[in-house]
Symmetry: C2
Subunit: 200 residues, 2 copies
DNA sequence: TTATATACTGTAATTATATACAGTAAAAAT
DNA sequence: ATTTTTACTGTATATAATTACAGTATATAA
């Protein structure tokens, strides 16, 4: 996609605002009024440029026939259940279902829901089948809830790093701490749990 | 609001579909094409009727100047924190903030979020400041998570009813079971917890 | 340096659109 | 029983809107 000029940006915003306020797109002349142009051709040329750059579609011959192309059809966040060994977490085969919700539901944006298996985090109030909202990131602080991949296995634990070792701690007395050492051939932080969703 | 005829309903749906597909409302003639009318006045008359009945607004003189009025501006579910003694749970003074999310996020519809105070349900994985999605209902089964009002105090507990008594059980060894008996002057079930939301 | 794109004004023509008016017919309300 | 509303066809017209064409000027890319 080609770069957009500031004037074209203004025209695009003008169209977006107009649609938001009235429910239908503006005419060339209305764009001119809004932005102070004196010729309908000014608007026309900007519209042509925006169409060339793929941002709008103009339905020829139709009044107000301006379609915005930027509508990202967002159908929700995938729920990841058991991750098949060796496959990327977000691979289609791992997607159990799609949940539609506000991206800002947990304060900051996230990437997917991980469905919790087992009871290893029960003392942190994370039960089996809870959905933990995961944000893909490697910026992790001690104590954060992380999704980690150890030797092709995916696990949800609390992260603790000291001078010489990394520990993944469960929140359950019956489970033991995982220490990342030489025996581990592959270790990777996939992301961070920023929220939780439960269906009673 | 007056009742709508089936033909008017068809015209309204036609407009909604048209907007969904193109991003702008149809002209009179386009409505006619879609519904098989042969005169633009057929569409015009239906539009006038829909405007009289308050379902649309027609911007006079504007091409495609049809605005839908049915847009229910839903700004989200209220989060209820501490409930002031004697006040209805959903009173404005109790609303901490509004969270926008899909009404079907927890399977069935619900009415508000209750912000959890204290640790009485910690063994059920419900921590302080968790938000429990509450559906207002009195249809409760044994073991359900309920919001109950006892003598003007609101509490979140597990519900158990036997032949001769009702118990509200915490999920924490350090808390004791509440038994509803003659000492209680007022007891009421406000609703049922159907889901949970947590911000890490 | 020579195009090409941006950024407009100004005018005009064609077509798209709203909308009024004259009817007809049937259903529903008064 | 009569009026009003619904539900159209068919025609006409003023105006709303797209869109082409002729310019001017500046900035950017080849």
């Amino acid at each position: 996609m080609k770069k957009i000029t500031s004037q074209q940006q203004k025209v695009l915003e003008c169209i977006e605002v107009y649609i938001k306020e009235t429910g239908f797109p503006p005419t060339r002349i209305e764009i001119c009024k809004e932005l102070g142009f004196k010729s309908p051709n000014a608007a026309e040329m900007h519209l042509r440029a925006l169409e060339r750059k793929g941002l709008i579609t103009i339905k020829s011959g139709s009044s107000r026939g301006i379609c915005l192309n930027n509508k990202t059809v967002f159908d929700g966040y995938p729920v990841i259940g058991l991750v098949a060994a060796g496959s990327p977490t977000l691979a289609e085969e791992n997607i159990e279902k799609i949940i539609n919700c506000d991206p800002e539901l947990f304060g900051s944006n996230f990437d997917y829901f991980l469905k919790v298996k087992g009871l290893s985090m029960i003392e942190a109030g994370i039960l089996e089948n809870d959905l933990v909202a995961i944000k893909k990131t490697t910026e992790i602080k001690n104590g954060d809830l992380v999704v980690a991949r150890i030797d092709e296995e995916v696990t949800l634990k609390h992260f603790f790093k000291s001078q010489n070792k990394i520990e993944l701690r469960p929140a359950n007395k019956d489970y033991s701490v995982i220490t990342i050492d030489d025996k581990v051939s592959h270790f990777e932080i996939e992301g961070k749990g920023i929220g939780l969703l439960r269906n009673h």
